[in-house]
C-alpha cells in the first residue's frame, strides 16, 4: 500500500474542505444562457441573409445570361448589325490623306511625279 499517498487521500476524504460556488452562480449561468440565445439568433439571421443574397445572385445570373429563344441566326445577324452601328458611332473620323502618285507619258509631254494630298473639304488636290 502506498501509505503517504493513501494517507493524504484519506485525510482529504475525511476533511474534504468542500468549496461552494458564489451566491450569484445561478444568475450568472442564466445570464450566459440568455446571451448565447441572442448570439444564436443573430448568427442565424446573418446566415439567412447571406444565403438569400447568394440565391438571388445565382438566380439573377441565370436569368440575365439566358440565351434568346428566337431564331438564333436572326439574333446573330441582329447582333452583327447592331455592333456595326455601334462601331460606326463610336468610330472617330480620321481625315483621309492619301499619297497619290500620278505619272503618264504620251511621248510629247513630260509629267512630273509628285505626291499629292486629297483635301476632302475643298475636294481638290
Amino acid at each position: 500500500m502506498d501509505n503517504p499517498i493513501d494517507e493524504t487521500f484519506n485525510r482529504f476524504r475525511q476533511c474534504p474542505n468542500d468549496l461552494t460556488v458564489n451566491d450569484d452562480f445561478e444568475s450568472r449561468v442564466f445570464a450566459k444562457i440568455r446571451k448565447k440565445k441572442i448570439q444564436r439568433k443573430v448568427t442565424a439571421s446573418v446566415a439567412m441573409v447571406v444565403v438569400l443574397f447568394g440565391v438571388l445572385f445565382v438566380a439573377g445570373g441565370m436569368i440575365f445570361n439566358e440565351p434568346d429563344k428566337v431564331d438564333p441566326g436572326f439574333s446573330s445577324l441582329a447582333r452583327q448589325m447592331s455592333s456595326a452601328e455601334w462601331a460606326s458611332q463610336v468610330q472617330e473620323e480620321v481625315p483621309v490623306v492619301e499619297e497619290v502618285i500620278f505619272a503618264s507619258s504620251d511621248g510629247n509631254s513630260n509629267y512630273a511625279v509628285e505626291n499629292v494630298a486629297y483635301n476632302e473639304d475643298s475636294q481638290s488636290f
Binding site: D2, P4, L19, V21, K32
Partner: protein, 174 residues
C-alpha cells in the same frame, strides 16, 4: 430522475435549477482540483451548466452525473489546451497561488502537491477515482476510454506520484 431529464431536454429552466442545486458544488470542487484556480474553476462550472442546458437534447444516457462530468472534463481539457498548461501547480509556486484548500502543516503532504506532479492524463483519472469516488466503469464512460485503460492510468498515476515525490515505501516527503 427520468422526469428531470425529460424536463431538461425540454429546456425548462426549472429543471436546470434543480440540476445545478444537485451538482454545482461537486463539479466546482472537481474542476478546482483539476485546475488549481478557484476563479477559473467557477467560470468552467458556469460554462458546464450552460452546455448542459443547450446540449440536453443530445443526452443519451440515464446517468446524468456522468454526462455532466463529461462536459466539465472536456471543458477543462479545452481550457488546458488553450492556456497550454504543462503543469498545474509546481511545488515552488504553491505558496504564491490562491490555494483553496486548507494546507496541512508539518510534514504532511497536501493533495495539491501530489496532484501537481502529475500530467493531465494521470491527474484527471486520479481525481475522479480517489477524490470523487467514481467507479472505473463511470470513469470509462466519462473519459471515453476502455475500463482497462482507466485502471492502468490510475495505477500509473499513483506510481508517478510516488516516484516524483520521492516517496520511499512508508516514508513521507518532507
Amino acid at each position: 430522475m427520468d422526469d428531470l431529464i425529460a424536463r431538461l431536454k425540454n429546456k425548462e429552466e426549472s429543471a436546470l435549477k434543480e440540476v445545478m442545486g444537485m451538482y454545482k458544488n461537486q463539479v466546482f470542487n472537481y474542476l478546482n482540483l483539476m485546475t488549481g484556480e478557484r476563479a477559473l474553476a467557477e467560470e468552467l462550472t458556469q460554462d458546464t451548466f450552460v452546455k448542459v442546458f443547450f446540449k440536453a437534447g443530445t443526452l443519451r444516457t440515464e446517468n446524468l452525473k456522468s454526462w455532466i462530468y463529461t462536459i466539465a472534463t472536456n471543458l477543462a481539457r479545452s481550457e488546458f489546451r488553450k492556456r497550454r498548461f504543462k503543469k498545474l501547480l509546481s511545488l515552488a509556486d504553491i505558496n504564491e497561488r490562491n490555494i483553496s484548500y486548507e494546507v496541512f502543516h508539518g510534514s504532511e503532504i497536501v493533495v495539491e502537491q501530489m496532484l501537481s506532479v502529475l500530467p493531465e492524463k494521470y491527474r484527471i483519472p486520479i481525481i475522479m477515482k480517489e477524490l470523487n469516488d467514481f467507479s472505473f466503469e463511470e470513469m470509462a464512460e466519462i473519459l471515453k476510454k476502455p475500463v482497462g485503460t482507466v485502471k492502468s492510468l490510475v495505477f500509473r498515476g499513483r506510481q508517478q506520484m510516488k516516484f516524483k515525490l520521492a516517496l520511499p515505501t512508508g516514508g513521507i516527503h518532507g
